[in-house]
């Protein structure tokens, strides 16, 4: 077990290097000079631009820039932004906490609501409540999140007046509820459908009949025997979903004016702030890697047949 985890952690290093290099190259390939763009339509002095680039190390060949970046990274330096000259670490530290909170809210909501809805529907497949759930999730899957976000905002904030339309600068937990539900709605629909199918399949399995025949209480039959086997595909989905949620949804963050990672990446991309983009993406890669490791380890809990030595 310990060796397996260690090996997986070691595997993260080449993945990490590869993904940063890729993002680095992609940023480099984009047209548009970030230093020149600062001046906009106004005059920009070429000599001045050149010296600013020299200060930022942007005049060096791409491989040199990448090596410099890695070198600094190992000393814990993520670089500085081009415009405001702030350390990228600070910029990310400002944006991350709110995204983490939002992601946790959304994740918990997805897990609790999605799995319970899935079980309720799956236990009686093809019934009215099952069809109802399938219909509802279909609506959620097909509705773009900006439509949903706007609708939710319109009803709860402007018609009913029970919520503020935007979150404030230092959002309280209750303010995050509405955007978290909007953010979670898509994965919630997937989780509910995955759980439903898997529960509906497993309920007819031999071991279920055995468990019932043994005279086990219904709670234990469903809670332990059925759930453990049905949750594997759901957990796989949730694992990758953590990464997606941490990436922040640009649209949801935009609608509710949340200054999180999503809007940070979008803004940094449009300003060609390479260091910021690479920094955020690097962090996201780590989140994805850790989440998928957790998922793999959780398999062993759910199904002891799947084991890692």
């Amino acid at each position: 077990m310990g060796r397996y985890v260690a090996r997986r952690l070691l595997q993260m290093i080449p993945v990490f290097l590869g993904s940063t290099l890729l993002v680095f190259l992609m940023m480099y390939a984009l047209p548009g000079d970030p230093v020149r763009a600062l001046a906009g339509e106004q005059h920009a002095d070429p000599a001045q631009i050149a010296s600013m680039k020299a200060d930022l190390g942007l005049d060096q060949p791409i491989w040199q820039q990448y090596l410099n970046y890695l070198g600094n990274l190992f000393q814990g330096d993520l670089g500085t932004t081009i415009g405001t000259q702030r350390p990228v670490a600070d910029v990310i530290a400002d944006a991350y906490p709110i995204t983490v909170r939002l992601a946790i809210f959304a994740f918990v909501f997805t897990v609790v609501a999605g799995i319970s809805l899935g079980i309720i529907a799956g236990l009686k497949a093809e019934s009215l409540r099952d069809r109802g759930l399938l219909g509802l999730t279909l609506v959620l899957i097909s509705m773009p999140s900006f439509v949903l976000g706007f609708l939710v905002q319109y009803f709860f904030a402007f018609q009913l007046g029970i919520a503020k339309p935007n979150v404030s600068l230092e959002p309280t937990n209750s303010e995050l509820l509405m955007p978290a539900v909007v953010l979670a709605s898509l994965s919630l629909a997937y989780v509910a459908r995955l759980t439903r199918t898997s529960v509906a399949e497993n309920i007819r399995a031999d071991y279920m009949r055995t468990a019932v025949a043994k005279g086990l209480p219904r709670r234990r039959v469903i809670g332990v025997h059925l759930m453990r086997n049905s949750l594997i595909p759901v957990v796989t989905f949730l694992g990758t979903d953590i990464g997606a949620l941490m990436g922040g949804a640009i649209v949801t963050e935009g609608i509710f004016n949340i200054k999180g990672v999503g809007s940070l990446v979008f803004e940094a991309l449009s300003k060609r702030e390479g260091a910021t983009v690479v920094g955020v993406v690097t962090l996201l890669v780590v989140v994805y890697l850790v989440a998928s490791l957790l998922v793999d380890l959780l398999y062993a809990v759910l199904d002891p047949r799947i084991r890692y030595a």
Binding site: A39, Q42, H43, D45, F158, I258, S263, L294, L298
Partner: protein, 539 residues
């Protein structure tokens, strides 16, 4: 029981991981509770986002930063909403020959830290701004001053640290000697770049940029990056634009729509621009609070004179294309009435604006066709309009193309660049294939700003690479004039001559479509489209 054991271990790890992140979350929410009080009483809030750069007067030329700079710093003079000069820190700015200017400062002015504002504060600041080593974006604004090349050579290190043209006479008087005559130089002094700096600036300019100390109507309070900048009204300010409110919060919004919802629900006092989604209804939503006012800015189509389409083109063709654009209909429908059809190369708010003695800006398909034919037509009968897709230009570019195609049969396509940096790069590298979308907001309210900066053959913002000896000579005549009036009149001649040269096709003037909530009053718009914050009162 190996499986069970490892299962416990893993479940434990997962719980710890979740608990750890959850802790992080609840920590920051505790902090949040302390600061949710929001806006202090008497403060007004506006949707101004994160400045692009640290807050230094000569390093800021985008609107977010300049809003904050203008609240913290006051330069020698400013303009009223009609574009007339209002003296702020200066008692007088005078010249006899348009070459040597004498500035007298009002006595008793201080920086926020108590240091007196003297002639030397201005001279030192300008020398520092102009110095190439300090890499200030707006350094070129000082290039009129004698000795600029010494501190800002085209190549290499500067020869000295001072421009010979700046001399202090006494504590409150200094003279500015220019390299050449510039009859409208005092208008340039209204640009925020010409603000003075206190001595503490030179100790650590970087730290200063994060926490500036100015001489303006407000003092700096706090800057929560990407969220909020707060400034407080300064009691000791002596200028004519003393704050009528207690302070300002510049709040950052990710979208104009988000800002609008906050305005409507009362969490924000003013917004600078209503987004397309809310434009149709903002006047009913806001009532008296709706702002719809033109300002000194123009949108143009600029031909790239090096491109295949427009190399050695007969201006008649461009006149024809101009007459093929139905400005009235496009501004009314596609642009929701947020723009005003152009009637000249300069907007009405600037000195010297005139009605052209020509009908090239009027929609006339028949004449358009005729002119294009007379001029020999467009090569391949096809043109393109380059624009940045992130700026909301797609709709009108499509409409303009449609109009040209219908009126003249010339094929017209939009050439979208994904964003502004890409668009600018194509312009800088002479890669524009036909027209590009040009836009210009007044730096100072004189027609020169719209003609010389854009169409002089050596102008830095002349990305169409229009070069015409006759126009350059006419401009030189305007620059040699002894008075502002004579210079403005000479530039009117330039404008009349431009009709025959067509360095660009003027499309329309901008208007600000903003609004304010019920808690504030006296919201006015200045000549370059910024909301004037000092005069805003709270109810």
């Amino acid at each position: 029981m190996r499986g069970a054991k490892s299962a416990k271990w893993v479940a434990g790890a997962a719980v710890i991981a979740l608990a750890a992140t959850a802790c992080g979350g609840s920590d920051s929410s505790d902090e949040g509770k302390k600061n949710t009080s929001g806006q202090p009483a008497g403060y007004v809030s506006i949707d101004v986002g994160e400045p692009q750069k640290p807050l230094m007067p000569a390093d800021t030329n985008e609107t977010n930063g300049s809003y904050v700079i203008q609240s913290l710093f006051t330069q020698l003079l400013d303009f009223d909403d009609k574009g007339e000069i209002v003296l702020t820190n200066a008692e007088s700015v005078e010249t006899e020959d348009s070459k040597t200017w004498t500035v007298k400062l009002k006595a008793g002015w201080k920086f926020h830290n108590g240091e007196a504002v003297t002639a030397q504060s201005y001279i030192d600041a300008w020398n520092w701004y102009a110095n190439v080593e300090n890499k200030q974006q707006n350094a070129f604004w000082f290039s009129d001053i004698k000795g600029y090349e010494d501190v800002h050579p085209e190549k290499g290190a500067p020869k000295g640290k001072e421009m010979s043209g700046l001399k202090a006479v006494d504590d409150t008087t200094f003279t500015i000697e220019l390299a050449e005559k510039v009859p409208y130089f005092n208008y340039k002094l209204g640009y925020a770049t010409f603000a003075p700096l206190p001595k503490v600036f030179y100790d650590d300019p970087k730290a200063f940029g994060k926490k500036p100390i100015g001489n303006g109507p407000y003092t700096f309070e706090k800057w929560t990056h990407k969220k909020l900048i707060q400034v407080k009204a300064w009691d000791e300010y002596q200028g004519p634009n003393k704050a009528a409110n207690k302070g300002i919060q510049f709040k950052n919004y990710s979208t104009v729509e988000a800002a609008y919802t906050d305005l409507v629900s009362g969490n924000l006092d003013m917004i600078r621009q209503v987004g397309p989604r809310d434009l149709p209804k903002y006047k009913t939503d806001l009532g008296d609070g709706a702002i719809d006012q033109p300002y000194a800015a123009i949108q143009t189509l600029v031909p790239a004179f090096y491109s295949k389409s427009f190399k050695d083109i007969d201006p008649k063709v461009l006149q024809g294309l101009s007459m093929a654009i139905d400005r009235d209909t496009i501004t009314k429908t596609v642009l929701n009435g947020t723009r005003i059809p152009a009637t000249s190369f300069t907007p009405p708010q600037v000195k010297g604006n005139q009605t052209l003695k020509s009908d090239i800006l009027k929609f006339n398909p028949a004449k358009a066709k005729e002119l294009i034919k007379e001029g020999g037509g467009v090569p391949e009968n096809k043109i393109s309009i380059q624009y940045n897709a992130d700026g909301g230009h797609k709709e009108w570019v499509t409409a303009v193309c449609e109009s040209i195609r219908n009126a003249t049969g010339v094929e017209c396509v939009g050439d979208a660049k994904p964003d502004f940096p890409t668009d600018l790069e194509a312009r800088d590298n002479n890669e524009v294939k036909g027209f590009y979308r040009g836009g210009w907001v007044a730096d100072y309210p004189v027609n020169v700003n719209f003609l010389k900066e854009l169409y002089h053959s050596k102008a830095e913002s002349n990305n169409g690479r229009f070069a015409d000896k006759e126009i350059d000579e006419l401009m030189a005549k305007g620059d040699k004039a002894d008075s502002l009036e004579a210079s403005v009149a000479a530039y009117q001649e330039v404008e009349n001559a431009l009709v025959e040269k067509m360095p660009a096709i003027p499309l329309w003037y901008y208007a600000i479509n903003g609004g304010h909530g019920k808690n504030v009053d006296n919201v006015k718009v200045d000549f370059h489209g910024d909301l004037e914050l000092t005069g805003v009162t709270t109810k």
